[in-house]
Assembly symmetry: C2
Homo-oligomer: 468 residues x 2
């Protein structure tokens, strides 16, 4: 096993065995720092072997590997498209660490292809023991969480904190009539919704569409099982037909725009992916009130590793079919993650009830995002060869202030003459991003994660500033 | 919200907030007892509304609801079969609690349709704080666990304990060449294996087969998305064809028999579902060495709520494709559950390294199962209207003793004249079981969970003794 793994094993073990050693001083600090560096090292290493266009959830502008054998498979498959076969060449990349403060290497590989939300780690470290949870060995052994609930694997405490959260933020209607369905990330809930909205007895699969640029995983996740129930049908703006499922991601992954459905038909259905409708990224202009709304812990509190999302669903039959999907797919959702995230949400919410308290998640996130976007815009301006979307500011009902949009991803366009493929151009400068082609548009665009740790982000800005 | 849910919420909350209150005395005891009773109450209540043939994993002879709207759907679907449409009538069931010691009501509904492994709860309560884990708020936030591993979302500590476990028990080969793929229960891994073994470019879906009686969820889980990659093709024994995926569940769910593949062909593949190949259920006669072997925490330590399973996979390409499936399906697997189960397994394993220690999971399980089967066989004999399979004893290499088979499910045949439908007959006596029809055989058979809590099991035996 390589060194990196050993380090990680040791860290995990310590965490598993330890009891409430939240900030255990210098040795721990060094171990963690070392471990993080090695993680980044190996992520970069892997990036040289794997290609990135990631799985689901307008949530998961995040993970996403296509291993090489898979690529061969996709080439052979009738479903595959040109965008599936691109890969990062191993040869052109020399690996070095990209974390540590100050960065030890200015020419390290920087992987901002995935939206791994590690920017939030620092917040949770500052929270100390408050965010910890103890799970007794005998607890939650049963498959069942609450058999009186339609979603029988939903932990009541998790549901309670979710309702409390939306009530505080004001970003979605969570009245008593609304069903909460928990999922293994919003990725699973997206598939559950496709299953729930597709007629089971139709001769043809239901068309699934989203306006370009759409989240890069929607096509892949819709089609990987070649379901007879639904199939990817591309750009919603050019779709001709009456029956469809339209995916509306707002704020949109990848470009941060605020969106509404572009189609309208009696036989059409919509799924609203609201992974980024939180105060750190955009103004909360009102409580969303759509039929199916998807949220995820990954982009709200940053706990992507918990694999936890939730759907707010108006219609009982749809909620029942979504529950059925999750039952068949994974017989429910990790109770450990549900209890842990319930605790995390509770801490976030309790902090808003203490007057004068400074540990407020959304304010923290907003400060980070606003600072990063300021740096990014300055670097882009200085470079002279890139451009970024502009956003109008709006009144945020959560903060009570006029506020700008700070998306979780930068949708960068390369304006340099002669450069048609921005991803390749940046890769040649050891900067890994996701090509616009995966989002249904030109290769002049790339998507860049804004959610990595500070050290990585600052190195990214330096790199950008060095490009002409 | 009904009373049951409130009680549960309170319990969860206490657990979430508390720190290391493992056995908090009389009040807690009463609360838990009350909560458990109410759970059983609501399970029984739900059973009157929902029908049970359960999701996956020869693992999950466990959960499994088909909600009423779903049934309508299945009726309409071309995939549906007669077995999908049966339901429990709400009218004929009056609900009462089935737990508590001694049982307060002799005529309560007893739900042994699902294989909820609550028999292990008592063991973990006796283990006290040893099984507890603390999860710090800042930990495992990233999507990535170990990017140097093919299965990049596999926590190294979980993998380490899995290898240790198989080395101790001797039930499967886990040499270094073998890949470990973690899944959200073996249900997800089963689907990952179907995906991995099906040619992506075939004109026809791959045939998926298993010898009758096969686990009732195999057909449903194979077909619910109407995949173009694979489709359920029924009983392996009567299958004619060259290309197939054969599911081999051993010991078999539902009948406890030790199985090998019944088909053999160059183009055939097998998935070995070894959910019950543990010393509490059967003799460990050697280390299984198949291409794909599935295991689950639900039936080994009893932590069904963690939704965690693992596959041992020989072939790298297959392992990569399975990983890809899980990435597309849920972007990995709950790290919280992986760390928690790593701790659980560590405790189980450590107990085997302490000489003279009495807290040994497999011995505990074996004692329970052997006692329960003795009681069951006596009751069946006394009734005169049922029969059970007989098993040969074998030398168990783990215990070093000649040992009988004590399956996690009783495969009961009704021999009473005039009774063709054993499930209905038992349901009329408020005993909920799963009909043989769901397993591809006659309705004279039913499958009964042997893994419920003591109180429920004892009530079941009394009920059986009252039938003539």
């Amino acid at each position: 096993m390589p060194k990196a793994s050993k380090k990680r094993t040791r860290r995990s073990q310590a965490s598993v065995e330890g009891r409430a050693h939240a900030f255990p001083g210098a040795i721990w600090g060094l171990t963690i720092l070392g471990s993080l560096s090695l993680n980044l090292f190996t992520i970069a290493l892997l990036a040289s072997l794997y290609e990135g266009h990631g799985p689901l959830g307008c949530e998961a502008g995040s993970s996403g590997f296509v291993a090489e054998p898979e690529k061969a498979v996709l080439l052979a498959s009738p479903q595959s498209s040109a965008e599936e076969v691109e890969m990062v060449s191993a040869e052109e990349i020399s690996v070095s660490s990209t974390t540590g403060s100050p960065p030890t290497s200015k020419d390290a590989i920087i992987n901002l292809d995935h939206g791994d939300p590690t920017v939030y780690e620092a917040f949770w470290k500052r929270m100390g023991e408050r965010g910890d949870i103890v799970l007794p060995g005998w607890q939650t052994m049963s498959y069942f969480s609450d058999v009186s609930n339609l979603c029988w694997f939903l932990e009541p405490e998790f549901a309670h904190q979710v309702r409390r959260l939306h009530s505080l933020v004001g970003n979605a209607v969570v009245d008593d009539g609304r069903f909460i369905i928990v999922g293994t990330g919003s990725t699973q809930l997206f598939q559950a919704a496709l299953y729930a909205l597709s007629p089971p007895d139709a001769a043809e699969p239901m068309s699934v569409v989203s306006a370009i640029p759409y989240y890069s995983s929607y096509p892949t996740v819709t089609d990987y099982l070649r379901s007879g129930l639904y199939r990817w049908a591309g750009d919603a703006s050019t779709f001709e037909g009456d029956a469809y499922i339209e995916l509306v991601c707002s704020p949109n992954n990848p470009d941060g725009s605020i969106r509404e459905a572009v189609l309208s038909s009696k036989n059409g259905k919509t799924i609203h992916d609201l992974a980024y409708y939180w105060p750190q990224y955009t103004a909360i202009t009102g409580a969303a009130d759509h039929d199916i709304m998807l949220f995820t812990v990954s982009k709200s509190t940053g706990h992507a590793g918990a694999r936890l999302g939730w759907a707010l669903v108006k219609d009982k039959d749809v909620a029942q079919r979504m529950t059925k999907f999750i039952e068949l797919n994974t017989i429910g959702v990790s109770k450990d993650s549900q209890l842990r995230v319930a605790k995390i949400l509770k801490v976030v919410l309790d902090m808003y009830e203490l007057p004068g308290n400074k540990h407020r998640l959304f304010e923290y996130g907003r400060r980070q995002m606003s600072m990063r976007w300021r740096k990014l815009r300055a670097a882009v301006k200085a470079s002279g060869i890139f451009s970024l979307p502009e956003f109008q500011s709006s009144l945020c009902r959560f903060t009570g202030e006029e506020t700008e949009t700070y998306p979780a991803f930068a949708w960068l366009k390369c304006e340099k003459e002669g450069v048609e493929d921005c991803e390749s151009f940046l890769r040649n400068h050891k900067l890994l991003t996701r090509s616009g082609r995966h989002f249904g548009v030109e290769a002049k665009y790339v998507r860049i994660s804004m959610l990595d740790r500070d050290e990585t982000f600052d190195l990214f800005i330096q790199r950008l500033l060095s490009l002409r």
